[in-house]
Symmetry: C2
Subunit: 362 residues, 2 copies
């Protein structure tokens, strides 16, 4: 393999200086059209690609973005990553992955992120479902490190993107109401999570808007996972026939799977005896029996919006350095602090609706 070409080689071949080549590479305006064309041609011919490493050292800024995610969230990251990389591939930034498990977190949580940043490798951070880490990330953000969270669990003061859980839940319950149901149960998630709260609020609002008084007997509390859905469902099935629900909105698909199992054991037919709707649109949901009607989270779009937001922060940061005090800067479009994306209702068989279509949540 021939020795790699450096900027110096390109400069020599194009008959210009390093500085000019650098200007061409970084798309700076003050280069003559012809010169630029010539340099670009040489770059093309030589297959030259500037060293990110050297550029990072010299420029003090890097072209790497750190993606932080707890390992256990990996299974649900596929779509998010797709969205992120689709945008990122059009830029000169690259993605660096940082994962950690629960041990790491409990042991020396602060260290992990700090060391990560201390390497000066990344220009910004994209944190997925950071959980316990979010406080620290917020702190970093306040210190000027560009950070964007993809989260659905807490109110943040950092830039973040999330799905509109309340509207999604509203649409799901409204759908059940339109199908004629009046006694609609809800299995909510743990109260310490914001999603649980939001989805519950959506449920309540949908009922109220249809003049249905919420019934405390029909509201159970689970922990997001199948077993809790199972036991909550059994409790509901044990209610006397006149108050037993005819429909159920589980606040996660996982819990809905538990409901499905309980229903099968008790001979409760879904959707005939019980219309069921979940939330999340996990992969298995299309394949369970019957296929689960659920609220789809726009993961792909969330990934896209998150990285766009971060890229915007990065761009602003760069400008600040160069055009400090530039009046144009002030009029620059404001970068949104939070982006909430609409969910959509995926209608399958478990709710008893005949057709299988997708309905926008708002």
């Amino acid at each position: 393999m021939a020795k790699k070409a450096t900027i110096e080689d390109i400069a020599r071949l194009a008959g210009v200086s390093r500085g000019t080549v650098s200007r061409v590479i970084n798309q700076r305006p003050d280069v003559d059209r012809e010169t630029r064309a010539r340099v670009l041609r040489v770059i093309e011919e030589q297959g030259y690609v500037p060293s990110l490493t050297a550029a990072g050292l010299a420029g003090g800024r890097n072209r790497l973005i750190g993606m932080v995610a707890p390992v256990f969230t990996w299974p649900i990251l596929g779509e998010l990553v797709r969205g992120i990389t689709e945008i990122l591939n059009r830029t000169s930034y690259e993605l660096v992955l940082y994962t950690f498990n629960d041990e790491d977190l409990t042991r020396n949580r602060r260290d992990i992120i700090n060391r990560l940043l201390a390497t000066q490798l990344t220009a910004g951070l994209l944190a997925m479902y950071p959980g316990q880490l979010s406080d620290q990330l917020t702190e970093l953000s306040q210190q000027g490190v560009p950070v964007v969270l993809v989260d659905d669990q807490r109110e943040q003061t950092t830039h973040w993107v999330r799905a509109d859980d309340a509207a999604g839940a509203y649409a799901a319950v409204q759908h059940l109401i339109k199908l004629g149901h009046r006694r609609i149960a809800h299995i909510q998630g743990p109260s310490e999570y914001l999603v649980s709260h939001d989805r519950h609020q959506g449920y309540l609002r949908a009922l109220r808007d249809a003049n249905i008084t919420p019934d405390a007997d029909l509201i159970q509390q689970g922990d997001f996972l199948p077993p809790s859905g199972y036991s909550c469902a059994l409790r509901l099935f044990d209610l006397s026939p006149e108050i037993r629900p005819t429909a159920l909105f589980a606040s996660t698909d996982q819990m809905a799977y538990g409901v499905l199992r309980a229903a099968e054991e008790r001979g409760v037919s879904v959707p005939r005896d019980l219309a069921l709707v979940g939330f999340d649109d996990d992969a298995p949901s299309a394949h369970v029996h019957p296929p689960l009607t659920t609220v789809h989270q726009p993961s792909f779009e969330m990934g896209q919006e998150a990285i766009k937001l971060l890229l915007a922060l990065l761009a602003r940061q760069r400008d600040d350095g160069l055009d400090f005090g530039n009046p144009l800067n002030g009029s620059q479009t404001e970068i949104p602090l939070r982006i909430v994306l609409p969910t959509s209702l995926v209608v399958r068989a478990s709710c008893g609706a005949a057709n299988s279509i997708t309905i926008q949540a708002n």
Copy 2:
């Protein structure tokens, strides 16, 4: 935020030179015990973390590992990534993500990888299910770039790790035979994939070992996805009762889902009328109805083995540079070119076996 400390600051504080600090950081032997301890203490006190960027530029070697994966494989990468990061977190290496979609591939396939390498960012490459990229990766590997493939689709001349598909298929079919089945159908994948071939061979061998003559009527060809499983199943159900299969081994879980749907439509009860086994252990398989017996791929371990192999290659490369001609090097353990990991059979309800246990494939 205080200005970041550099190696120079540490040197000054410890009363030594940059060179010595560098030696300590890189764990070189030629440093006095006391000096080393002193330097380490200062590093600790200052929370100093060396700049990977500068080290990369100066040393010519980097501490980044590129992970290459086509976007559409993301959903199945969760466990692999877990395995990789678990090992990687103990080293000073970081993971950089490179994904690309089909367009990228068909348009300028060569460019992508070349540009990737040309940035000189990564010390080695870990490629997941590279598909069309594998030729090029092999080439790179021959040019001296450390490359490890995680693949199940082709015979490679590069280092790679994969699951033992043939043994997995053998175990699956053997399981069905032990349950008393003699007429066992198989839906294989597209012939251009090595997995299809291997799983098919495993199927045939299991039949032969049980003195069952394979019946061409019972062997269908699908394309890995649910719809093809559906149509293949219908074709099998249309066979006259005396030659109709009592069991079916689908070479992917996805196709098994299609089989499940066909069975439901035709009133064929699984597992009573048809015992079903899939392959891959996709996430939905535990939740389909009935839960699918399948062959589990050791993704977590594959990730671990792959990264260990790459790390070993990297270490060897580094040694080569330093101890050129060292006799120890010659007698050094030869690094295995390929690693094949055992699969395991996950017994659930769809095969008709009472208990739900996991059986090692070999």
